[in-house]
């Protein structure tokens, strides 16, 4: 498949995302935020950074860019869309993902390697599906990553299997409700998370677990 990586003024992780996409699937290209046409890519990464300076609220202005209109259409057609960090904030602001990201509970920017538990589907019984997977070792770096949604929405997300990633016990770096690190939309083709899988794809940096996040979505491309 061919990944496209959006680039906003203020993006800063788009090059790592491009590298990660090309490692994961062979081909990837950059897409400037003013482009209304995605040029036939099969999936899109909305990368990390500080799009439009994070003015007003993180992600609030980027959602109105022409490229995001095209991303919304791709998402509606079932194409894979991955939002990382600021990209996750953009997808939440755009209404493509449920919930919102708030200032870290301790008001500090967090930057550290941590373990993520992958959640495959609805949680049932005592043995959550999490236990079936080895945790992913992936770095997180953000100041506004506290996942929030109203309680009844959180219940629904858990019931419907839309909680995609949780911080491993004791490693929640930002006060996210229910340790949620990443969520998907109802159809499962739009996924957002605060930690940075694109920074964990090369043995040089100690972990290649990030590739599993890209691979999770690749199966959905046409």
């Amino acid at each position: 498949m061919i990944w496209g990586v959006l680039q906003f003024p203020g993006s800063c992780d788009e090059r790592d995302a491009l590298y990660a996409c090309s490692l994961a699937s062979g081909e990837a290209r950059m897409i400037w935020h003013e482009e209304r046409d995605l040029g036939g890519v099969d999936g899109v990464v909305v990368p990390g950074g500080f799009s439009y300076g994070d003015y007003l609220r993180a992600g609030a202005l980027a959602r109105f860019s022409p490229a995001m209109e095209a991303v919304a259409e791709l998402a509606a057609a079932g194409g894979p869309v991955l939002g990382i960090c600021n990209g996750f904030q953009v997808l939440c602001e755009a209404g493509l993902l449920p919930g919102a990201l708030l200032r870290n509970e301790n008001l500090r920017f967090v930057c550290r390697q941590l373990d993520l538990l992958e959640v495959d589907g609805p949680i049932s019984g005592d043995m959550g599906p999490e236990s079936a997977h080895r945790p992913l070792s992936i770095p997180a770096k953000h100041g506004e990553g506290r996942y929030y949604a109203p309680e009844e929405m959180l219940d629904r997300l858990e019931r419907d299997g839309q909680v995609a990633y949780r911080y491993a016990p004791g490693q929640n770096p930002n006060g996210s409700l229910r340790d949620i690190a990443g969520v998907s939309n109802e159809a499962g083709n739009v996924l957002g998370l605060m930690p940075h899988p694109e920074h964990a794809v090369d043995p040089l940096t100690g972990s290649t677990d990030g590739l599993r996040v890209f691979q999770r979505l690749e199966g959905l491309a046409r």
Binding site: R57, A60, A100, L102, R103, N104, E105, N106, A149
Partner: protein
């Protein structure tokens, strides 16, 4: 028409900024100040004030996490 939009975190949502301000006050000799919440204020001039609420819903506030109040001046 000039207007002012006040945006604040919704009731019940943890506001660490407000907490930090609250904790700093006693050190400066201001005792007995509680429930500090920090929000945002936007001033603007609008030709059509009838659309201000829509504008707030779509951009100035995120209705999931924030309440807003429009004051026309």
């Amino acid at each position: 028409m000039k207007a002012r939009v006040l945006i604040r975190p919704k009731e019940g949502i943890l506001d660490p900024q407000g907490k930090a301000v609250e904790r700093a006050l006693p050190a400066l000799g201001f005792e007995g100040v509680e429930h500090v919440r920090v929000g945002r204020m936007v001033e603007l001039e609008a030709e059509d004030p009838a659309r201000l609420a829509e504008l707030c819903e779509k951009l100035l506030a995120n209705p999931l996490i924030e309440d807003y109040e429009i004051q026309t001046l």
